[in-house]
C-alpha cells in the first residue's frame, strides 16, 4: 500500500528544482544559531520576513517578546529588540524559513506583571513538613524571585519553596490544607495519585471552582495508600507548574521494613525550563503555546537547581524518590554506572524488585529506586537519550548532566550491600493484585484512540508535518522542532482522546462505571495522526495496573496513576474503580491537557455490600 505521506514526500522531493538539490545545504551561517540563537535570529529576520505568510500576532504587535510585564530589571542585558524569534533551536537544526518572523497568536505572559521583583522573597529549597493525622497545613502559592544559572526571574512557589514543602504523613492520615492563592492567576491544588474525597481533587470546572487570585480554599486530604505522590495546580499547568508550583507527599506505611534498609534517602524532582540566554520564554496568556509537543525546557533542573550534588561514602546505598514534574519531557536517568534497583512506582511497590540500567520516567510518574555507590569517586547523574534531528533524518545521542554523587573512600557506616544485592519479592503487593487477575483477560470495557487535529497552523508547519510523518519515534525525548512547536497554540491544536465505540471525544465522552467495578481500558496511540507523540495518561483518584503493552502481558506489576503510551503502542489498563466521584483521565503533558486531551470518568456510588 502506498501511504499518502509517502506519496507526498516523494512528490515533494521530486518537486525540488535541480539547482536547489545540488547546491550545498546552508550550514553554519549566522542564521542557524546554536542553543542561544538570539543574535542569529536577528540576522535572519530581515530577509526571512519576505517569505512570511502574514500571520498576525498580538504578541508582536502589542508586546515585546519578553514583556508580559516582567520587570525590566529581571531581564537586564537581553537585547529584546532583536528577538523576533526567541526560541532556542537545537544545534544544527535550522528554522524553516517560512516560519521566521512569526510569533504565536497569543499575548505574552510571564509571572509578576507590574511587580517590583526586589520586593519578592527569594525562593527557598523544599523543606520537610511532617504532619500527623488531623494536622493542618497552610499552603500559599506565591510569587518569588528565583536565580537560575546566575539570572534572576520572577516565578512561583508554594510557601516560598520550590519544590514546595515535602509533606510526610503516615498512611491513613487525613490532613487539612488551607490553600491561599497569592499568585496572579486563578489556581487550585490537585493531589496527584491520592485516592481522596472527590470534592478535594482540585479540578476547577469538575470538582470545585477556580480559586481566584487572593482567595482561599480548604482541602481535606486523606492518604489511604503508602507511596510517593505530588501536588500541583490543575489550572494552566503549562504556566503554573513550569514556573515552580509542585511539591511531593510521602506516605509512610506502618511496617518498618516496607522498604529495605539504606544509608540515606533523597528526593529528586526532575524538571526543565525554557530559557533563551537570560530570558524566560514567555507563555501564551489566552491559551497555551507549544501545543504540538509541549514546552520542552533547555535547562534541566533537579529540585529546582541546574546541578544536584550529594556526598556519600563508599558502599552507601541511597534510596531516591524520583518525580518528573516537567511539562513534556520524558527522562532516561542513570547514575554514572552505579547499579540501580527499582523498588516502587506511583501508588505501590513492584511485585518484585528488579535491576535496571536506567530509569525512564514520563511526566507525572514517580519511581523509587535504590542505587549503590560501591567505589570512591564521582558518579555523574545524567539524562541520556537519542534525539531525532528531523532536518537530517538522523539520531543523535544527547547526554545532559543533572548532577553528581561524590563518593568518599571512607566505607559506609553500615554496609547494606547484602540487602541491596537481594531482589525482594513483595508478596503483599502480589496478593493484593491477585484479586484482580480474573479481570486481566476480559474484553476491554472502553477502547480509546489518542490522536490530534489541527487548524490554522502556519503553512510551513503543516507542510513539514505532512512529509515528516513517515516515521515517528515511540518517544520523542527532546523537541526537535521548537519553531513549529512554539508557534502552535491550544487554539490551533486539539489533542484528542476518542472513544472508539461512540466516536465521542474528550469531555463529550459520557462515561459511567460503578464503584467497586474493575474497568479494563485499552488505549491506542495512533501513529498515523498529523503529529503523533507519546502521552503520559493520568487517571485521578483511582489506582490502575498496566497489565499489557502491545499484547504482551506485564510480568512485574505495580499500582500506577500515570502510564506512558508510546507512539504506535496499545496499552491495557486495569482500573480499580474504588473511589466514587467524577475523575479526570488526561494526558499529563501540560500543553496537551490545555489543548483538550482530557475526559472524565463518573464512578457512581454503590451501596456498601453491592458491587462485584
Amino acid at each position: 500500500m502506498f501511504r499518502l505521506p509517502c506519496a507526498a514526500a516523494l512528490l515533494a522531493v521530486l518537486a525540488v528544482p535541480a539547482s536547489a538539490q545540488n547546491s550545498a545545504p546552508a550550514k553554519k551561517s549566522p542564521a542557524m544559531p546554536g542553543m542561544s540563537g538570539m543574535r542569529g535570529m536577528r540576522g535572519m529576520r530581515d530577509s526571512s520576513r519576505v517569505g512570511t505568510r502574514g500571520t498576525t500576532s498580538k504578541r508582536k504587535k502589542t508586546t515585546s517578546p519578553v514583556a508580559g510585564g516582567a520587570p525590566m530589571a529581571m531581564t537586564a542585558g537581553a537585547d529584546m529588540e532583536g528577538m523576533a524569534m526567541p526560541v532556542p533551536m537545537p544545534k544544527g537544526m535550522p528554522m524553516i524559513p517560512g516560519l521566521v518572523g512569526l510569533t504565536p497568536a497569543v499575548t505574552s505572559f510571564l509571572p509578576g506583571v507590574g511587580v517590583d521583583s526586589r520586593s519578592l522573597p527569594v525562593a527557598m529549597a523544599s523543606r520537610l513538613t511532617r504532619l500527623r493525622n488531623g494536622d493542618t497545613l497552610d499552603l500559599t502559592a506565591m510569587l518569588v524571585r528565583r536565580t537560575i544559572k546566575g539570572h534572576s526571574y520572577v516565578m512561583y512557589a508554594f510557601n516560598g519553596q520550590s519544590p514546595g514543602p515535602l509533606i510526610r504523613v503516615p498512611q491513613n492520615a487525613s490532613i487539612t490544607v488551607r490553600f491561599h492563592n497569592r499568585i496572579d492567576l486563578p489556581s487550585a491544588v490537585h493531589w496527584h495519585g491520592v485516592r481522596l474525597d472527590n470534592r478535594f481533587d482540585g479540578v476547577p470546572g469538575l470538582t470545585q471552582a477556580e480559586v481566584a487570585s487572593g482567595k482561599d480554599f480548604t482541602y481535606t486530604v486523606h492518604f489511604p495508600d503508602a507511596g510517593f505522590y505530588w501536588y500541583h495546580p490543575h489550572v494552566r499547568e503549562d504556566i503554573q507548574q513550569a514556573m515552580g508550583l509542585f511539591g511531593n507527599m510521602r506516605v509512610d506505611a506502618p511496617e518498618p521494613e516496607y522498604y529495605s534498609p539504606v544509608n540515606r534517602e533523597q528526593t529528586l524532582v526532575l524538571n526543565d525550563i525554557l530559557i533563551n540566554g537570560d530570558t524566560l520564554i514567555p507563555f501564551g496568556k489566552e491559551s497555551a503555546d507549544y501545543a504540538l509537543m509541549g514546552r520542552v525546557g533547555n535547562v534541566l533542573l533537579v529540585n529546582g537547581e541546574p546541578r544536584y550534588s550529594l556526598r556519600a561514602q563508599k558502599g552507601d546505598v541511597v534510596r531516591f524518590f524520583i518525580t518528573n514534574v516537567a511539562s513534556s519531557r520524558t527522562f532516561n536517568l542513570s547514575f554514572g554506572g552505579a547499579p540501580i534497583k527499582i523498588v516502587a512506582s506511583d501508588v505501590s511497590r513492584f511485585e518484585r524488585e528488579e535491576r535496571v540500567a536506567s530509569v525512564v520516567i514520563a511526566p507525572a510518574e514517580r519511581y523509587i529506586v535504590e542505587v549503590r555507590f560501591d567505589r570512591p569517586g564521582r558518579f555523574t547523574i545524567v539524562n541520556a537519550v537519542q534525539s531525532i534531528n528531523h532536518y537530517l533524518g538522523e539520531f543523535t545521542s544527547e547526554v545532559d548532566t543533572l548532577g553528581s554523587v561524590a563518593v568518599a573512600a571512607v566505607p559506609a557506616a553500615h554496609d547494606f550491600g547484602a540487602q541491596f544485592a537481594a531482589l525482594r519479592a513483595n508478596d503483599a503487593v502480589s496478593r493484593d493484585i491477585a484479586r484482580y487477575r480474573k479481570y486481566f483477560d476480559k474484553a476491554p470495557d472502553k477502547t480509546l484512540t489518542l490522536t490530534v487535529a489541527a487548524n490554522t497552523l502556519p503553512l510551513a508547519t503543516v507542510q513539514f508535518m505532512n512529509v515528516d510523518t513517515a516515521y515517528f519515534a515511540p518517544v520523542e525525548w527532546v523537541d526537535g522542532m521548537p519553531d513549529m512547536n512554539w508557534l502552535s497554540t491550544a487554539r490551533q491544536v486539539r489533542w484528542i482522546l476518542r472513544d472508539d465505540a461512540t466516536g465521542q471525544e474528550n469531555m463529550n465522552i459520557d462515561w459511567h462505571v460503578a464503584q467497586r467495578s474493575v474497568v479494563k481500558i485499552r488505549i491506542f496511540n495512533d501513529p498515523k495522526s498529523f503529529h503523533p507523540m507519546q502521552h503520559p495518561i493520568h487517571l485521578h483518584g483511582q489506582r490502575m495496573l498496566v497489565i499489557a503493552r502491545d499484547g504482551v502481558a506485564t510480568k512485574n506489576l505495580v499500582w500506577k496513576d500515570t502510564a506512558l503510551i508510546p507512539v504506535g503502542s496499545t496499552v491495557d489498563l486495569l482500573v480499580d474503580a474504588s473511589n466514587p466521584g467524577v475523575w479526570m483521565l488526561h494526558c499529563h503533558i501540560a500543553e496537551h491537557l490545555e489543548a483538550g486531551m482530557m475526559t472524565a470518568i463518573h464512578v457512581d456510588s454503590v451501596a456498601a455490600g453491592a458491587g462485584r
Binding site: 545545504p25 517560512g98 535496571v356 536506567s358 547526554v399 510551513a460 525525548w477
Partner: protein, 160 residues
C-alpha cells in the same frame, strides 16, 4: 555530502519504506538464494518495568517477532543447519546476533540500534560468532523512514 547524494538517498528511503504499517513493522524481502521465503517482523518492546524499554543511553530495546514461511531446508543452501537473525548497522559494520529463526513465529532479541537492517542468514550453528552463510530475508527498521530535509524546499525558503 552533495545535495545529489541526499536527494538520491531520500528517494531511496521514501520508495523503500512506503509499504509498512506502523512504527514497529518490518517487511522482509527475500533474495535469489531463497525465492520462496517470505516474512514479516514486528518490533515489540523488551520486558521493562517502565513505559518504554530503552538502553541506558536511550536507544529503544526491542524483541523482534519474526513470522516467516517458505524457508527452505538450510542444508539445501550449503553446509548449513539453521537460520539466524541479526540486527546490522546500516553501514554493515556491526552485526548483532538476535537468535534462531524457523518457519512460523520466532521471537529473537534484543535489537537495540537506532537504525538497523534486520538480516536473516543461513548458518551452521544457532549461535555463530559471525555471519557466514547467504542472506535469505532482510528488511530495515522503521526508523529508516526518517528522511533528510537538507535539500527540501521547506528549508530553502522556496515557495512551496
Amino acid at each position: 555530502m552533495t545535495g545529489a547524494f541526499w536527494f538520491g538517498r531520500t528517494l531511496l528511503l521514501v520508495s523503500l519504506f512506503c509499504g509498512t504499517d506502523g512504527p514497529f513493522d518490518i517487511e522482509l524481502f527475500n533474495t535469489p538464494a531463497s525465492p520462496t521465503a517470505q516474512g514479516h517482523a514486528r518490533l515489540v518492546f523488551a520486558e521493562s518495568p517502565f513505559g518504554v524499554a530503552v538502553t541506558a543511553d536511550g536507544r529503544a530495546s526491542y524483541d523482534v517477532r519474526i513470522d516467516a514461511s517458505g524457508l527452505p531446508d538450510p542444508a539445501t543452501l550449503g553446509a548449513f543447519s539453521t537460520y539466524v537473525a541479526w540486527a546490522v548497522t546500516t553501514d554493515l559494520t556491526e552485526w548483532h546476533r538476535l537468535g534462531r529463526v524457523t518457519n512460523g513465529t520466532s521471537v529473537v532479541g534484543h535489537a537495540e540500534l537506532n537504525k538497523f537492517l534486520l538480516v536473516i542468514t543461513a548458518e551452521s550453528s544457532p549461535e555463530p560468532r559471525a555471519h557466514s552463510g547467504p542472506t535469505i530475508l532482510h528488511g530495515t527498521s522503521p526508523s529508516g523512514w526518517l528522511q533528510s530535509f537538507l535539500s527540501h524546499p521547506l528549508f530553502r525558503g522556496l515557495p512551496p
